[in-house]
Structure formats: C-alpha cells, structure tokens
Amino acid sequence: MRHLVIQIFSFLLLFHLAVSSQAETAAQLIRQAMDNYRGLSSYSEASMTIHRPDWERVMSMKVWTQGLDKSLVRITAPIKDKNGGSLLIGDNMWSYAPKINRVIKIPSSMSNQSWMGSDFSNNDIARADEIINNYTHTLLETKKINNRLTYIIQSVPNEDAPVVWGKEIITINDHYVLLKHEFYDQDNILIKTLTASEIKKVGDKYISLKQRMQKTDHANEWTEVVTTVVKFNVTFNKNTFTLSNLRNPR
C-alpha cells in the first residue's frame, strides 16, 4: 500500500516536471523566435501593400529596432505621408504627422485600432515582448515541414494580459523563424492570420522577408510587408528612439 502511494506520488512529480519543462520549451521557442526576428538591434527597409477589393495602397518605410521593446518606423513614400511615423517604447506609442508637425501619443485604448490603415493593429506593431511575458505557452505538435523540424505552439494570454485574443497559435521552425501566427478571439474563432514566406539567410540567421496579414472573413483584404533591406546588430545614435528624432529626422 505504502509502496503504491510512493509510486503515484513520484509519478505525479515526474509528470509535473515533464509538463513544466515542456511549457518552458514552448516559451523558449517563442522567445528565441522573437530574438531571432528582431536581433539585439536591427535596421530594415520595407514596403507595405494594403490591398482592398477596390483599391490598393503601397507605402515604403524604414524601421529601426532595439531589443524587444523599442522601435521607430518612418514612412519614406508616398510623398504625401513622407517623414510621418511611429515611435514605440514599451507600452507607449507616439505618432508623428509632418503636415501639422505634431507628435500624438496613442492611448492604450487605441491599441486595437488599425496601424496606418493596414490590417495590422497598433498592438501587432508595438508589443513584441508581450507575447513572451503575458502568455502561457504549450507545445501542441512537432512535425517536419519542408524537411525542417517545425513546432506548433498554443499561446494563451494570462487573465490580466491587456489583449483581446482568446488564444494564438504560432508555428516556428527549428531556425527560429516564425512561419505562421493565427489570432483567435474569445470564442475560439480565427480572426486573422499572419503568414511569413521567402525565408532567406541573412548573416548567420534565417528570417522571412515577406509577411502577410489576412483577415479571415474578408478574403480579398490583406496587408503585405516585404522587407527589401535588413541589417542586424547595428549600433545607433542614442537619440534614435526619442520623440525629437521622431519629429526631426536626420
């Protein structure tokens, strides 16, 4: 009898260890994918296409990032919006409109509003670190896709996380490239999907150069970001992530 109790107890202990180490693996994968994607610091140039059934708009932009919580986006084309942009530091986001020469702080209540009219929300642009800190991750499946080991991870926001999603399903390969990111609402309905393609080796790591955000219920509406230039581990002027730099580009 006593033997049995010990057996059950040790089994539970082992099981618990297995579960927690598995959760750690999933969280680590996500963390590494984010680190891989953003690097310690990065500079990139990209074009963003917003597609709608009756029109299409293409914008060009430059992006600077440092760590997971600082980034600066500056629009270079079209002329009308040139030099406009956004600065993100942690939870804070500011937008600059050159036409009126003003910087506006975007309140956190607006984090689900569309960013620059695209299918990305302010939150999608801003909170790269949130998914690491405020979510619980579970490894759902490991399989081979295109000869690469691929992990499918379910990420559920913690009770107090300031997000609207019920869960997110993230697909990452063993090069730590995020291949797919699906956003489900609280009723478990798929709302939008981010798909990454054109995976290239840049320096010593792999990244995707094309990302498309697609809303589920509007097949003909999507936003695609194509990266044309990317450099990692760049050193920046310490003014880079400041409001004055957002306002007065050098």
Partner: protein
C-alpha cells in the same frame, strides 16, 4: 326592420340599472384603452423625434452597404451638389451633407478616439439640434473654416477651453495620414452622453481636405418632424437617386437606429398583452349580462315563438340589443378617452422619475398623448368585435327554445 331596432332599443332600457352598469364597464374600458394607447403612441412619437431630431435625421442617403459597413471609402460622390438637387426636387429644405470619420483628437495633455463629423455649416441646424445647443462659444461659421465644435464631456476630458487648439489624427479616404490642428470655437451639450463624450464636428470642406475626400461625403441627412412620412419621402428619394447612381440608397431612421424601433415594438406588444386581458374581462362581464337578459326572458321568447317569430329573428333581436348597447357605450367611452388625451395634449403629462428615463432617449420630461385614428379607434373596435362574439352565445341559445316549454318557464 325599423320596428326591430325600436324593439331592441326599448328592450335595452327595460332594466335601466343593469344596462347603465354594463355601459359603464364598456365605456370605462374604452376610455382607458384610448387614453393608454394614445399615451403610448405619443411616447413613441417623442422617442422617434427625439432620436431623429438630435442628430441622425429621419432619412439618410448613403452609399449602398455603408449602413452595415461604415467605411471611409463608401462615399457619395459630389455630395453637396446632389444635396442641392434633392432640396430642389423634393422642396424639402431640411437636408444637409455629412462626412463621418474616426480620429484621435488630442490636447496638450490627453488623447481620445472620437467620431469626427464634417458638416455643411449652413444647413446642419436644419437637420440636427446640436448647432442650437452650443453652451459656450459659437457654431461653425463656414464650410471651409478652420474650426471645430466639441461635446462638453469631451472638452472636460481633454481639459480644453474655447480657443485652444486640438490635433486630429486619423486615416484619410486614400489611406494616407489625415491630420489637422484646429481651434475649438464652440462647445455643445446635447444631453446625449455618447455624443457629448465622443463627437467633434468640423466644417465639411475642412473635413474633405483633411481626410482626402475631394467632394465626397458619407451621408445626406434629411429631417422631417412627421415620422409618418418616412415611406413616401423615402420612395421619392429613391426615385431621384435611381436614375443617377444606383449605388445610392435612402435609409430610414428605423434602419439607422434599429434599437429604438425594436424597443417601441416590444413596448407596444407588451402593452397590447395587458389590453387584451382587460378587454377579455370586459367581454366576460358583458357576456354575463346578455346571458342573464336572455334567460330571464325565456317565457317572453316562448310567446314570441308561439306567435310565429322565427328563432333566427329573435336571435337577431338579441344581437341588435348587444350592438346598440356596445356602440352607445363605446362612443361615450371613446369620447371621454379622446377628451382626456386632448387635455394632456394641451397641458402635458409628467410624473416623478420621468426626467431620468426621458433623458436616456433624449426626450422631454412631459409626454403628450397622440390623437390619431389608431389611438382613438383601435381599442374600441377591438372591444366591439369581442363583445359581439360574446353576444353570439346567448343569441344562439334561443334556437334551442321550444315554445311550449319556454312559455311554462318562470
């Protein structure tokens, strides 16, 4: 025939007290229902005019699909000239063009997301009471002026006063950044919490320039105080729009604010549930009276049958009595009901706690009953139908009478 009516009339008054009591029951019921229905319909009129008058208008011309998917790109081209044409062809002057957008508006200290409405400054006061509800400063002066008016709660939240500049930041019709810096020239207080907290108005041309709209807009708003004219005006508008641009439609207030319509329908049907119960009670008491008057005259009917009256004719006689009594009572009751309605139409009706409920629907705190065919006749006619059906039972009972047995009846 004439004799039969006279016969029936005399029969009614053979038992005066009973007749008068029955008539009182019917008349009181009729008066009560006429008054309640009048009050209900009057309240609905206030709800409709309250919700249409304040901002939304009775009818809006929109691009097809805008109602369900209010996107910046779903616009009416050359909206102002179309509005001019509609004013001309319908001879209705209370028409104004609007453009609707969403933007962040920020003061030095704070930022809020708000609805930005571009208005035709000259015409907006014809379709909305907001221009008349400016509590400080003044309303917008010209279609291309660099000005804005904002709701009082918003002004408080943003901590701005007259003359302070606010920054607007949003997306234009072409997806470009829409941005403007405009001074606050007026602060309105509509009484609607939502509007006062989350709406700013700017002149239409300023809006079109800021949001890259060219001459487009999102709605042509039409106001008419008589909501009963909704359908005729709508079809007149469709007649003007159809040949010009098949993508434009006229949308009624009931589609723009379906919540108001639904709550009216719900309230009306639950009201009628009570009325039907009331009418049923009246009906049973009348049925009792008729049955009594037939039963106590069994002997008399027996003699009539023996004299050669057909049972059908006697049944007819009883029905005539019922008809005369009911119509007589209903007429008096209805007249009383209408007079009460008329009294409150002149003097207004209010009761404690009314003000708070009324504020939710932007209604004044006094109700005035509606006097219309529907409010005055629907209740009485329903009572008439019910009572005549009730009178059928005693009338049909006569067919079973046998003359000899009936005559022996005491």
């Amino acid at each position: 025939m004439n004799t039969a009516w006279r016969f029936a009339w005399r029969n009614i008054w053979r038992n005066k007290r009973r007749t008068v009591l029955t008539m009182c029951a019917i008349g009181f019921g009729a008066a009560l229902i006429v008054f309640s229905v009048g009050l209900q319909l009057g309240q609905y009129d206030l709800m409709i005019s309250g919700s249409t008058r304040i901002f939304q208008g009775l009818i809006q011309v929109q691009k097809r699909g805008y109602l369900n998917d209010a996107r910046m790109r779903n616009t009416i081209p050359d909206a102002q000239s179309l509005a001019k044409k509609i004013r001309h062809e319908t001879a209705i002057n209370d028409i104004a063009v609007r453009a609707n957008g969403f933007a962040l508006v920020s003061s030095k200290e704070r930022t809020y997301g708000v609805a930005v409405i571009g208005v035709e400054t000259q015409y907006e006061s014809y379709v909305s009471i907001i221009p008349g509800l400016i509590k400080s400063g003044r309303y917008l002066s010209a279609d291309n002026a660099n000005e804005m008016v904002i709701g009082r709660s918003l002004a408080k939240n943003l901590k701005v006063k007259l003359g302070d500049e606010l920054t607007i930041l949003g997306s234009g019709r072409d997806g470009s950044i829409a941005a403007a810096v405009l001074p606050v020239t007026g602060v309105f207080e509509s009484g609607s919490r939502e509007l006062d907290r989350s709406m700013i108005q700017i002149p239409i041309k300023t809006f079109q320039e800021t949001f890259s709209m060219q001459t487009h807009a999102h709605a042509i708003v039409l106001y008419h105080q008589n909501s009963a004219l909704l359908e005729p005006i709508k079809s007149q508008l469709d007649g003007i729009l159809m040949p010009m641009n098949e993508n434009l439609v006229a949308v009624g207030w009931d589609q723009i604010q379906p919540g108001i319509k639904e709550s009216i329908e719900l309230d009306y049907s639950s009201g009628w549930f009570i009325y039907i119960i009331l009418i049923a009670i009246i009906t049973f008491s009348i049925m009792n009276t008729f049955l009594m008057s037939v039963l106590e005259r069994t002997r008399e009917f027996g003699i009539m049958l023996a004299l050669g009256f057909k049972p059908l004719n006697i049944g007819k006689l009883v029905m005539m009595e019922a008809l005369i009594l009911t119509v007589f009572a209903l007429t008096i009751g209805t007249l009383i009901g209408i007079s009460v309605n008329y009294y409150f139409l002149i003097n207004g009706l209010t009761f404690e706690g009314m003000e708070e409920i009324a504020a939710q629907y932007n209604m004044p705190a006094t109700i005035t009953p509606q006097i219309s065919l529907e409010s005055s006749l629907l209740g009485p006619v329903t009572i008439l139908v019910f009572t005549l059906v009730a009178a059928l039972y005693p009338a049909l009972k006569i067919r079973k009478l046998k003359p000899v047995e009936a005559m022996r009846h005491l």
